[in-house]
Symmetry: C2
Subunit: 456 residues, 2 copies
C-alpha cells in the first residue's frame, strides 16, 4: 500500500485541480434552467472515470437526469464494490451571503469554498481518486462499479426505476458511499443510520385575487392567517406532531441504545454558540442528539404569500404557500407518512379556503449493521489514517436512495463520510477542508484492501 | 348650472386624456426607485391645477414626498373648501396578473384600466375638473384650496407635520375628499366612518444561518414554525384577537345602529361569488358588513422565509418575516395598539429565537356626522346626478390622515367617493368605470352649489 499512498500524496494538487473543474459546472438539479449543466457535469464525470482507469463508462438516460455508470471488472470470482455518488448540487440562494461566488472554487484557510465542495462533488471525487491510485499501482483487489446520479438533491426521483431496470449490471457485494459527515476532523465516525424524508408543498387559496385589506379585512378568511393556524396546529406544546398515526411505526430506541448514543462527544454550549441561539428546542423528553438522530422532525423549509417587498402594502392576499418537510426514522414509511399528511392537512383547512397539498420528495430511513464485513473494513481503514476507531453514529440527514438500494438491489451500503458540521452544506459558503479531502482518499484506498481481506 | 354641466360633457374626452397623462407616471411611494416619479407627478398636478384655474399653485417640501398646494380665493368672507387627494399609488406586483401594463391606461368595456385609475388619481382628478368647470363658467361660489400629497399609501407620514406647520394656509370650513367607494354604480353612498390602521413588520431569527434540515431538524427552533405559532396564537377559534386590551376602547355599536347598518343592500351569495370563496369568515357574532365596518381586523398582508423557489430544497431557515396589519375602529388609538402589539408579540417569542417588531404605518379611525352642512350638500349633489338619496355607510378602509385633519386642523371631512368594489384597488387590473368618472365630476360640481347655499 506504500506506493498507493505515495501516489495519492504526489498527485494531490492535480486531484484538487480536477475537482475544481467539476465544481465549476453549476449542476443545480432543482432548477430547470440548469438542464444543460447536468449533461455537462455527467460528461465531466465520465471523462474523469475513464482517466481514473475504468474499463467502460457511459452516460445512461433515465426519465430525469442521466446516470453516469462505469466499471472495472478484474475477475468475476472476486467481490464487487458499487460506488454511489451524486453529481447534482443544491441551489445557492441567498447568493449575496456567499463570500466568494459559489461556482468559482477557492481555497481559503485550508478549506475549499464552493457549492458542492463537500456535498457531493468533493466527497464523490475522493472515490474516483482512491480508485485511480489503486489501479495505477496495480493494487485494486476487487471489481469496482460506479453509479453517479444527478437527482439526489431532488429525491433521486429516477434512480429507483434505473436500479430496477439494471439489477444485473448493478449487482455488487456492498455499496460504498461518501456523502455523510464525521464528528470532527480528528474524530472519525461512520454513519450507521439515516433519517428518511417526506417533503410537501402546500397552497392555500382564499379569495380569487388580492383584496384591499381595509374593505375586506375581518370579513374574508386570510390565507396566510389560515396557513399559520394550520401549521401551528400540526405540533403541540411539547413539539410532538399531533397527526394521528405519525409515531405509530417509529422504532423506539432502548434505554441502552439511547445511553450509548448520548456518549458521543457533544457540547451543547458549543453547539448553541456555533449557530448563535440562546436555547435549543425540540421534542420534549429527548436530547439534541436524539432529536436529530432517532426522532422524526416537522420543519417548515419555506413560506411565502402576499406582499413581501419594501414598506407597507395593505393587502388581503389571495394565496399563501409553504414547503414543509419531515425527517423520518426507522421504521416510518415515507409513502405512508406522505399520504397521511396530504389527507390530514387537507382536512385541517376551513371551508373558507381551498387547499392543495403536493408531495415533492421522499425516502426511507436506513440502518447499517456494524457486523457487516464492509463495516469492519471501513473501521480498519479509518484506524490506518486517523489512528482511532471510528464511532458509529446516527445522522439526522437523509439519503433516500440508500433504502431503495436495499429494497431493489438487496444490497447494504457503508457510509464512509468525511464532511464536517462546519462545512455548511446546503447553505451559503459551503466548504470542505483540504485535510478531509486528502485523508478521505487515503482512507478509501485502505478500505479496498481490508474489504478484500474480510471477504476472503 | 346648465352651463357647468354642459362644459363637463363637452370636455370629457380631454379630461380623460389629461388623467391618462398623470396615470402614466409610476408614482409608487413605497418603492425608493420611484423617487423621481414622485416629483414628476407633483409637477404634473401643479400644472393641471394652474390650467384648471387656481390663482396660485406650488410644490411644497416635506420631510418626505412634497405636497402640491393650490388655491383660488374669490372672497375672504365666503366659506372655503379644502380638497384633499393623493398622487401616490400602490405597488403593482404581482405584475404578471395584469391584463395590460399597469402604467399604460386603456379603456376596455367602459372602464379605465391602470394602477391609480380609481385610487386616487382617477378620483382626485375629478376634483380638479369639477373645479375647472365651475371656474370657466363663472360659477365658483366659494373659496377653494387643494392639498395633494404623495404619501397616502405609506401612511401619510409627513402630512401631519405639514398640517401643523401650515395651519393658517390650510384653514377651511370643510375638507372634501374623493378616495372612497359607493355601494354600486346606481346606488350612491357616502362614507361616514373609516377604520384606522396599525401595520407592523416582524422578523424572527432562529439560527444565524440556514441549516441542513436533516442534520439539525428537530433539534433547533425553526423560525417559520415559531412565526406560524405566534401568528396563530394571536386569534382564538372565534376569530377574536386575544391580545389583552385590544378591544378595550372599541366603541360598541348599539343594536339600533347595527340594525340600520345591516339594512344596506348586501347579497352574501354575490359577495362570495365575486371573490370565489365558499364561505366567508370572521369574528363570531357579527355579520360581514359589521366585521368590515365596525369591528377591528387582524390580517397578514405578507409572509416570507426560507426557500421559496422551484422544487424541494431541504433547509432549516435562519429567518422568517411577516407584514401584519390591523384595521381599527373608533375609539381605538392606533399608537396605543401599535405599542401594545409590539410588546405582546415580542413577549410571545420563545427563547430559542430572536424577534424584532417594527411599526411601519398607522392612522386613527374617523366618523362623519350626517347633520353637517357639507354632508347635506353632498346628499343633494348625489340626488341631482343619480336621482337617489345616498346611503350613509361605514367603510372598512382607512384614510389615516382624515383623523389627523380633525386633530390638527380642527376640520371635518366629507367623503364623496365614486369607487366600486369591483375597481380592484391595490390589486392587479385596478379599474374605474368611465360613468363613475364623469358622473363624479358632475356630482362634485353640484356639491359646491349646495354647500354655498347650506353655509349661507
Amino acid at each position: 500500500m506504500q506506493n498507493v499512498i505515495g501516489y495519492i500524496r504526489e498527485n494531490k494538487d492535480r486531484f484538487l485541480e480536477e475537482l475544481f473543474g467539476i465544481i465549476r459546472i453549476p449542476s443545480i438539479s432543482s432548477q430547470s434552467e440548469h438542464k444543460d449543466d447536468m449533461i455537462k457535469t455527467a460528461e465531466a464525470y465520465k471523462a474523469a472515470l475513464l482517466a481514473a482507469g475504468v474499463d467502460r463508462a457511459e452516460i445512461m438516460p433515465t426519465t430525469g437526469n442521466p446516470v453516469v455508470y462505469a466499471e472495472k471488472i478484474i475477475d468475476g470470482s472476486l467481490p464487487t464494490v458499487l460506488v454511489y455518488a451524486h453529481y447534482d448540487v443544491m441551489p445557492v440562494d441567498p447568493v449575496d451571503l456567499w463570500d466568494s461566488p459559489p461556482f468559482e472554487p477557492v481555497v481559503r484557510d485550508g478549506k475549499i469554498y464552493a457549492r458542492g465542495a463537500d456535498d457531493d462533488k468533493g466527497q464523490g471525487f475522493m472515490q474516483l481518486k482512491a480508485f485511480e491510485a489503486l489501479v495505477r499501482n496495480g493494487k485494486l483487489p476487487v471489481n469496482v462499479k460506479f453509479m453517479i446520479e444527478g437527482e439526489e438533491e431532488i429525491g433521486s426521483v429516477s434512480l429507483g426505476a434505473f436500479c430496477e431496470a439494471n439489477k444485473e449490471m448493478l449487482r455488487s457485494d456492498i455499496i460504498l458511499v461518501s456523502d455523510t459527515g464525521m464528528i470532527a476532523e480528528d474524530i472519525p465516525s461512520i454513519t450507521t443510520g439515516l433519517r428518511g424524508l417526506a417533503y410537501w408543498q402546500v397552497e392555500i387559496t382564499g379569495p380569487n385575487r388580492d383584496l384591499h385589506s381595509g374593505l375586506f379585512g375581518g370579513g374574508v378568511a386570510n390565507p396566510i392567517n389560515v396557513l399559520a393556524k394550520m401549521i401551528a396546529s400540526m405540533t403541540d406544546e411539547d413539539n410532538k406532531v399531533v397527526m394521528p398515526g405519525f409515531y405509530d411505526d417509529v422504532l423506539d430506541a432502548s434505554d441502552a441504545e439511547r445511553k450509548k448514543l448520548n456518549q458521543a462527544p457533544f457540547d451543547l454550549d458549543e453547539y448553541k454558540a456555533a449557530i448563535d441561539v440562546d436555547e435549543v428546542d425540540g421534542e420534549k423528553g429527548y436530547t439534541t442528539i436524539e432529536r436529530t438522530g432517532i426522532r422524526p422532525s416537522f420543519d417548515l423549509c419555506g413560506i411565502w404569500g402576499g406582499y413581501t417587498g419594501e414598506g407597507a402594502k395593505t393587502v388581503l392576499p389571495s394565496k399563501a404557500f409553504a414547503k414543509i418537510s419531515s425527517r423520518l426514522v426507522p421504521n416510518q414509511d415515507n409513502v405512508k407518512i406522505a399520504g397521511m399528511f396530504e389527507e390530514y392537512f387537507t382536512n385541517l383547512a376551513p371551508k373558507s379556503v381551498k387547499v392543495k397539498v403536493s408531495s415533492l420528495h421522499g425516502g426511507q430511513a436506513y440502518v447499517c449493521p456494524i457486523d457487516l464485513p464492509a463495516y469492519k473494513a471501513a473501521e480498519k481503514a479509518f484506524e490506518e489514517v486517523y489512528g482511532k476507531t471510528p464511532v458509529p453514529t446516527r445522522s439526522g440527514g437523509s439519503i433516500p436512495i440508500i433504502s431503495t438500494f436495499e429494497e431493489v438491489l438487496g444490497t447494504k451500503s457503508v457510509l464512509m463520510g468525511f464532511g464536517l458540521e462546519s462545512d455548511a452544506i446546503h447553505s451559503p459558503n459551503e466548504n470542505f477542508p483540504l485535510n478531509n479531502f486528502y485523508n478521505g482518499i487515503e482512507t478509501i484506498a485502505w478500505f479496498y484492501k481490508y474489504f478484500a481481506e474480510e471477504m476472503k
